[in-house]
C-alpha cells in the first residue's frame, strides 16, 4: 500500500520541492483522527535523522515536512509515515481526489450498515425489554438475543473497523488515544453480551454497541466532510492549469503542443479564445481580455494591453492571444497560492493545541477513574459493576472536547476563502477576531491604485495635447502606478527611444529630437540651467499629485493626477466603525492628498508623509497602548509593518499576491469583504468558546451520573454522540451566509463535490 503511494508521488511534481539541500513537502495522511495520531507521526518523523520540522493538522489530515536532502530521502519519510499506520497521499492531484472519494464511500457504507443494523437490533431489544416486564418465552428470548448477535457482529467488525484499528495502532505505539477508550467499551460490551447469549443467562448490550458505533461514525462523517471541503478549495486552484501548452516555434506562427512542465521563461505561447492561460506571462498581442475569476475572484473580465501581466489560471475571454512566459510553471502565482494555502492548512493554530493537550490529559484520567468505579461497585454490588464501567467509558469519551476548536477553525477558513479572503497563517482567524484598531494604507488600499488625469497646465510653448503625448511617450517606460494615467494620450509616431528611469524621481529621454524630463518638479526642472524658471510657477492643486514636464529651457507643463478612492471604501469604513473598530490612516503621501482622503471617508486619525519606519513607530505606539492592530497594506511596500502588526492583510493585486508576507490576503480588488471577514472571525471565536464550554460541561456532568450507575450504557452512548454532533453542527453555523452582511462578492469556484 505504502509502496504504491510512494510510486504515485514520483509522478507528481509540485507538492514537493528541494532547493539548497533542503526539502519540503506537503501531503495528506489518511487515518489521522486525533491529537495522538498527529503526535505519533511527529515523534516518528523526529526520530528520523535529517528531518528538520514537521507540522500536522489534525482537522484536514495534512502533513508538512522539512528535511535535509543529504541525510534523508522523501521516500524514507513516506515509508515511516506508512509504517506508523497512516497512508500518505499526494495533494491536490487526481490521486488525492480519488483517495477522498474512496474515503467518503467507505464511511458511507460503514454508516449505512451501522444505521440499518442498529435499527434492527433496537427493534429486537424492544421486544426483549417488554418481555422482561410482561413475561416472555425463554426460548423466544434466546432466539431474539441470537439474532441480535448475528446483526451486531458485522456492525462491530465492518462498521467499527476504523475505531478498532485506531485503538490497535495506539496500543502498539504504547500511547493512549480516544479510540482506546471507545474500543475498550465496544469490545467489553460485545464480548459480555455474546458470552451471556451463548450461555443463555445474563444481560446483553447489543443495542448500545450498534448505536454507539453508528453515532461515532456519524460524528466522524461530518468532521470528514469539513476536512474535504477545505481541501477542495485548494484543489480547485491546483487543477485550474492545463497539462499542456501551445508553444510558438518560429516567427511565422507555427505552434507545437508541449507538456506544461517543459515551458521555460522567455518562450512564447499562444492561448486560444476561451482557453486557460497556463503560466504567468506578458501579453504580446495589442490587447487581451482575461477572466481572472478563479485566481483573484474578480468576476468582471479585465482588459490587458500589450506588455501587461497575465496570471496563469485565468481564462482568455477575448480573441486568441500570444504571451511571453515570465515565470516557470512551478513558480507561477497560482502555484505559490496553492503552496501558501497548503502550508496554512498544515499549521496547527495555538487555539487547537490547548484543546488537544486537554483531551489527552483527560484520557489517562478516564481510564483511572473507570478502574476505580469498577472496583468500588465490585464491593457495593458486583452485578452493577459492569454496566457502570461501560457507562463511564462511553459517556466520558472526550470526542467533543478535541473536536471543538479544529472544526470551527476549518469552517471559518473555508467560509473566508469563499469571501475571497485567503488565510495564510493558522492563527490569523483568532487574531482577526481580537482586533480593535485598523491601520490603513492609502495608495492601493483605500484608493484603487489606478490613476486618472485631472488636468494639464502648460506655459504656452506647447499645447496641452502635445504635452500629454510627450509625457505619454516617456511614461511608457515607467513602473510607477501613476504612469497609467498618461498612456491613453500616446500619439503614433511620437516615441522615445532612449528613456532612462531615475528611481524615485522620474524619467529622462528624447522625444522629437529634444531632451525631456518628467517626474517631480525639482527633477523636471533639473535639465534647465538653475534659476531659469521658478518651479512653483506651474504648481497645481495641492490636494492631488503633480507631475511636471520640463526641457532644457525649463518647466513646460504640469499634470494633475489623482488616485481615486475605491467605490466601496466609504461603505467599508462605515461598516468597520459599526463593528466597534478604531480606524487610522497611515500613508507615505504628502499631507494634502491624505487629508483629502481622510476627510472624504470621515476619518479623524491620519498621518501623512510616513516612511516605512514611521509607520512601524505608529504601529508600535498603538500596540504599547494595548491595542490589537490589523494592518492593511498593498503587501509589498508595507512588508515590515505588515509583519509587525498583530494581524496583517494584504491587498492582492495580480502577481504580488504570491509575495505578500501577510496573515491574510484579500484576493479581490474590493474592500467589501473585510468587515464580513472580521464578523466571520468573531463568530468563529464565539463558537469555539461555546463548543469548549459545552464539551467540558457535558463531560463533567456525565461522569458522576455514569459512575453512580444512574446512566445505562445506551443513554451514555446517545449523550456522548449528541455532544460531539452538537459541537460539529455548531461549527457549521459559521458557513451559513449571514443575512445582515450583503454578499457583494462572488464565491471562489469551489468543486461542487465537497
Amino acid at each position: 500500500m505504502a509502496g504504491a503511494a510512494v510510486g504515485e508521488f514520483a509522478l507528481e511534481g509540485h507538492w514537493a520541492s528541494e532547493s539548497e539541500g533542503q526539502g519540503h513537502a506537503v501531503f495528506d495522511a489518511e487515518g489521522i483522527r486525533c491529537a495522538r495520531c498527529a503526535a505519533s507521526i511527529r515523534t516518528g518523523l523526529a526520530a528520523l535523522p535529517g528531518v528538520t520540522g514537521t507540522e500536522i493538522n489534525v482537522v484536514n489530515g495534512r502533513v508538512s515536512v522539512n528535511w535535509e536532502s543529504a541525510t534523508v530521502s522523501l521516500g524514507a519519510i513516506l515509508r515511516t509515515v506508512a509504517s506508523l499506520g497512516f497512508r500518505p497521499v499526494p495533494l491536490a492531484g487526481d490521486a488525492a481526489a480519488a483517495a477522498r472519494r474512496d474515503e467518503r464511500r467507505a464511511s458511507m457504507k460503514r454508516i449505512g450498515l451501522a444505521g440499518l443494523g442498529s435499527m434492527q437490533v433496537m427493534m429486537y431489544a424492544a421486544g426483549l425489554y417488554t418481555g422482561a416486564f410482561q413475561g416472555i418465552d425463554p426460548q423466544v428470548a434466546e432466539f431474539l438475543k441470537l439474532t441480535c448477535l448475528l446483526i451486531a457482529t458485522p456492525v462491530l467488525l465492518y462498521s467499527g473497523a476504523p475505531i478498532l484499528r485506531g485503538a490497535l495502532h495506539d496500543l502498539r505505539r504504547r500511547t493512549l488515544g480516544m479510540d482506546v477508550t471507545v474500543s475498550l467499551a465496544l469490545v467489553l460490551a460485545y464480548a459480555a453480551s455474546a458470552y451471556n447469549t451463548l450461555r443463555g443467562a445474563g444481560e446483553v448490550y447489543f443495542d448500545s454497541v450498534t448505536m454507539f458505533i453508528f453515532f461515532l461514525l456519524l460524528g466522524r462523517w461530518f468532521e470528514m466532510k469539513g476536512r474535504h471541503q477545505a481541501a477542495s478549495v485548494t484543489d480547485a486552484l491546483a487543477r485550474a492549469l492545463p497539462a499542456t501548452a501551445s508553444r510558438l516555434v518560429d516567427a511565422s506562427g507555427t505552434v507545437e503542443t508541449v507538456p506544461l512542465a517543459q515551458v521555460r521563461v522567455g518562450e512564447r505561447l499562444r492561448v486560444g479564445s476561451g482557453q486557460v492561460i497556463p503560466v504567468d506571462g506578458r501579453v504580446l498581442s495589442a490587447v487581451a481580455v482575461v477572466d481572472e475569476a478563479l485566481v483573484t475572484g474578480e468576476s468582471i473580465p479585465q482588459r490587458r494591453v500589450g506588455g501587461e501581466a497575465l496570471l496563469g489560471g485565468s481564462i482568455n475571454a477575448g480573441a486568441a492571444l500570444e504571451l511571453e512566459v515570465t515565470a516557470a510553471p512551478h513558480q507561477s502565482t497560482l502555484h505559490a497560492l496553492v503552496r501558501m494555502l497548503e502550508h496554512a492548512q498544515s499549521q496547527r493554530p495555538r487555539l487547537g493545541l490547548a484543546a488537544e493537550r486537554m483531551a489527552s490529559w483527560f484520557i489517562v484520567r478516564i481510564l483511572l477513574l473507570t478502574a476505580a468505579v469498577g472496583i468500588a461497585w465490585l464491593f457495593i454490588e458486583p452485578s452493577r459493576a459492569f454496566p457502570a464501567v461501560l457507562a463511564v467509558l462511553v459517556a466520558t469519551c472526550p470526542c467533543a472536547l478535541s473536536l471543538a476548536t479544529p472544526v470551527a477553525i476549518a469552517a471559518a477558513t473555508s467560509r473566508l476563502a469563499r469571501l475571497g479572503v485567503l488565510v495564510t497563517r493558522a492563527d490569523a482567524i483568532e487574531g482577526l477576531a481580537h482586533v480593535d484598531t485598523v491601520l490603513l494604507d492609502k495608495t492601493g488600499t483605500l484608493t484603487s491604485g489606478s490613476a486618472r488625469m485631472l488636468g494639464v497646465r502648460t506655459r504656452g510653448a506647447i499645447d496641452a495635447p502635445t504635452a500629454l503625448a510627450i509625457a505619454a511617450a516617456l511614461e511608457e517606460f515607467s513602473r510607477h502606478p501613476l504612469a497609467a494615467a498618461f498612456l491613453p494620450h500616446a500619439r503614433d509616431g511620437m516615441r522615445c527611444a532612449d528613456a532612462l528611469e531615475v528611481a524615485g524621481q522620474g524619467i529622462e529621454g528624447s522625444v522629437m529630437g529634444q531632451r525631456w524630463r518628467i517626474g517631480s518638479v525639482a527633477f523636471a526642472a533639473g535639465l534647465a540651467p538653475a534659476g531659469s524658471l521658478p518651479p512653483q510657477a506651474l504648481a497645481a492643486d495641492l490636494a492631488n499629485v503633480t507631475v511636471a514636464l520640463g526641457d532644457e529651457s525649463g518647466l513646460q507643463a504640469s499634470f494633475c493626477v489623482t488616485d481615486e478612492l475605491r467605490a466601496d471604501a466609504k461603505a467599508t469604513v462605515r461598516r468597520l466603525r459599526d463593528l466597534g473598530l478604531d480606524l487610522r490612516l497611515a500613508s507615505g503621501d504628502r499631507h494634502a492628498p491624505v487629508a483629502q482622503v481622510a476627510r472624504e471617508l470621515g476619518l479623524s486619525g491620519f498621518e501623512a508623509q510616513l516612511r516605512p519606519e514611521g509607520k512601524l513607530d505608529l504601529l508600535r505606539s498603538l500596540q504599547r497602548d494595548g491595542h490589537r492592530v490589523l494592518m492593511i497594506g498593498d503587501g509589498i511596500n508595507d512588508g515590515p509593518v505588515l509583519a509587525a502588526a498583530d494581524v496583517s492583510m494584504a491587498m492582492g493585486n495580480g502577481s504580488s499576491i504570491a509575495h505578500a508576507a501577510s496573515d491574510l490576503v484579500l484576493l479581490r480588488e474590493t474592500l467589501g469583504a473585510l468587515p464580513v471577514a472580521i464578523g466571520v472571525a468573531r463568530r468563529a471565536l464565539t463558537i469555539v468558546r461555546q463548543n469548549l464550554r459545552w464539551a467540558a460541561f457535558y463531560n463533567l456532568a456525565a461522569i458522576p451520573l455514569a459512575a453512580l450507575g444512574l446512566m445505562p450504557p445506551w443513554v451514555a452512548a446517545i449523550g456522548m454522540s449528541l455532544s460531539s454532533l452538537i459541537v460539529v453542527m455548531n461549527a457549521r453555523r459559521i458557513n451559513r451566509v449571514d443575512p445582515a452582511a450583503p454578499e457583494s462578492v462572488h464565491p471562489l469556484p469551489v468543486g461542487a463535490h465537497a
Binding site: 472519494r101 464511500r105 458511507m108 457504507k109 449505512g112 450498515l113 440499518l116 443494523g117 434492527q120 427493534m123 429486537y124 418465552d137 423466544v140 432466539f143 431474539l144 439474532t147 448475528l150 446483526i151 461542487a752 463535490h753
Partner: protein
C-alpha cells in the same frame, strides 16, 4: 408464537437486501453529487 421463527429470519433477509442495495448505490456513485443532476434536467443542451 411460532410465526416469530418465520418473521424474524424474514426481517434479517430484508435488512440484508437493504444493505446490499445501499452498498450498490454507494459504489455506483449515486451519492457523489446530490445537487447537479436535479438541475441538469432543467438545462437545455
Amino acid at each position: 408464537m411460532t410465526s416469530i421463527y418465520l418473521l424474524i429470519p424474514l426481517s434479517i433477509g430484508l435488512v440484508a437486501i437493504a444493505v446490499w442495495a445501499f452498498f450498490w448505490a454507494v459504489n455506483h456513485g449515486q451519492f457523489e453529487d446530490l445537487d447537479e443532476p436535479a438541475r441538469s434536467v432543467l438545462e437545455e443542451d
